[in-house]
Symmetry: C2
Subunit: 347 residues, 2 copies
């Protein structure tokens, strides 16, 4: 299968059942099953491995933040505001709302002449339980800074500021910042997304339906953008470096993305998205990965991504051993006793 | 299909794909899909409506607490300790850890000469977000009383105390309390469960694999136990009355079970379980319902149960309208904007 051009055409209308790739066991029995599809592509558009229907559009949600972050570099906003690895990593982040995340985004906003009031992502309690407990126990209330997307939004505000656009309404599809991001997504996925299914993401920005195969292609081009324009190559290199250098800022304590990148660095730049999406740019292999759990379960997306990283050789056996609790996590009861596990079908 | 006796035999070994019954939309597109199976049975063992594979065993988890609570009545423990609707409802509950739940369980434990230290269910933060925030903000820590199963465990302790068994280890399969519960489950489901797949539930007690069809039969017998022994009939009536009288104690603020029973009372006694299980005893119709979402998603279990209650006539059209936000809930983004919905395939 080759994704390079417009060959994909319209997604197949027929509903096909994706294979049950992830099982959740309890005692001697499988308790729950997760169906999924995934694609692994090279930058030339060849799908080297896949399962399930990879032509049906899925919403990539937060899994493409590293692609959206390219706008920060390519517009010159990052240079103008002297943004470093920390800010670029935060632009790629679904962070846990831990103090370091929140403080770094607040500092960044101040640097571009904005504040928390300019964020249009909405507020929610920190995703990391300990950060949530600390915030609430200290009498604090969640703000938009705690929103896991606040770094991405600080990036959008930086682009708006740098290019002289109004910051209010920067989350709208028609706003020049989102249109700029759309252009990047189109060139990276190789698709005209003007007619793509368009939803509203949890943080208010547009999320466009893209087939998994094309998402994998976009991630491959992030990993190995050799045939891309020079500015894109440079931007991709900065994003890759930032994620590998600041894995904590991309997610946080105990999180899958952070653990994998702390171990593998640029070899396995992984990014989670809501509703069971996961993407990866495998720099040394020059491959991109995109997966979606049919039912939206994040637990299944993580273990499937872990298996794919191992299968593709982005993570070695010894490293996978160090990540065993993450790649093949136990199911624990409330008292902490192991009562089952998550496991992936052979791929 | 008739479930009355041992006709079911062994579950079919072949893996069949259950139908995708629940869809989660975002904008113009279905973002995630949930496959499921369900059974509706009468007390005679006739399956009057079903979808998917209802012969494969599933762990019923907390959805059968109303059946487990029968032991509290049938052993005489409820009478001996003068337990009322509140305690019996709590024995059937997956409660939100709200102050009224926690205080009532603590009072109950004191009444049987036990305390929080006797609970073997483990501690977790209150399931209801506001109760969690209030606890943490007040400097409190979660105890076993906040565990959503603490009422069920207080019931087990009551049975142990009343029958003179040691309380320590009451969660073990071999403990006389659990064996007593096992006997009730066997007679209600019509199955010999000695060889059933046996897992450990989140709260530490055994959970046994039972086909959905037989779970529906058991719930039908709870709803209409006319052909059951007199003691079982009386116990079932008390459980039904307690759930209908104290729907808040069975779940809590904003919860599906509570909302449905506040509206429908004994007509629709519904009980959620972990990993996408839901059961219902429909008293006026004399029917039992059991469903399981393949992937374990609670959001899908709720809307499927809502649709079944409407389809079966346990809930009227006007009532369903009052529960529209629960039966067909919106997907909201972080700013509270409606961006999609959960919907059920026509059944």
């Amino acid at each position: 299968m080759n994704l390079k051009t417009d060959e994909m055409g319209n997604p197949a209308p027929a509903e096909t059942a994706n294979p049950p790739l992830v099982e959740v066991t309890r005692g001697p029995m499988v308790e729950s099953r997760h169906r999924a599809a995934f694609a692994v592509a090279d930058p030339g558009g060849t799908v080297v491995l896949h399962a399930g229907d990879i032509t049906r559009p899925v919403y990539p949600r937060s899994a493409i933040k590293p692609l959206q972050a390219l706008a920060l570099l390519e517009t010159g906003a990052a240079e103008a505001f002297e943004l470093g690895d920390a800010e670029i990593a935060l632009a790629c982040a679904s962070h846990g709302g831990e103090p370091r995340h929140v403080e770094a985004v607040a500092d960044w906003l101040a640097r571009i002449g904005c504040s928390v009031g300019d964020l249009e992502c909405g507020a929610h309690l920190p995703s990391t339980e300990q950060a949530m407990i600390d915030l609430v126990a200290g009498g604090g209330r969640p703000s938009a800074l705690h929103n896991n997307c606040s770094g991405k939004h600080a990036g959008f505000l930086s682009v708006a500021r740098h290019l002289g656009y109004p910051t209010a309404g920067y989350i709208a599809y028609e706003h020049p910042v989102q249109q700029r991001v759309l252009g990047i997504l189109e060139s990276m996925t190789g698709l005209d997304l003007g007619g793509a299914p368009r939803g509203i993401d949890g943080c208010g920005i547009p999320t466009l339906g893209v087939p998994l195969g094309n998402l994998a292609l976009a991630m491959a081009r992030l990993a190995a953008p050799d045939d891309q324009p020079e500015a894109r190559q440079a931007a991709a290199a900065r994003v890759r470096q930032a994620m590998a250098t600041e894995p904590f800022l991309v997610a946080g304590s105990g999180r899958f993305c952070t653990k994998v990148m702390e171990l593998a660095g640029e070899r396995a730049l992984v990014k989670t998205g809501a509703e069971g999406v996961y993407c990866a740019a495998l720099t040394t292999l020059g491959l991109g990965v995109a997966l979606k759990i049919d039912d939206g379960a994040g637990r299944a997306a993580e273990v499937l991504m872990g298996r794919l990283l191992l299968r593709l050789g982005a993570i070695g056996d010894a490293e996978a051993g160090a990540l065993a609790g993450t790649f093949r996590p136990p199911v624990l009861n409330r008292a902490g006793r192991r009562v089952g596990e998550l496991r992936v079908e052979p791929i």
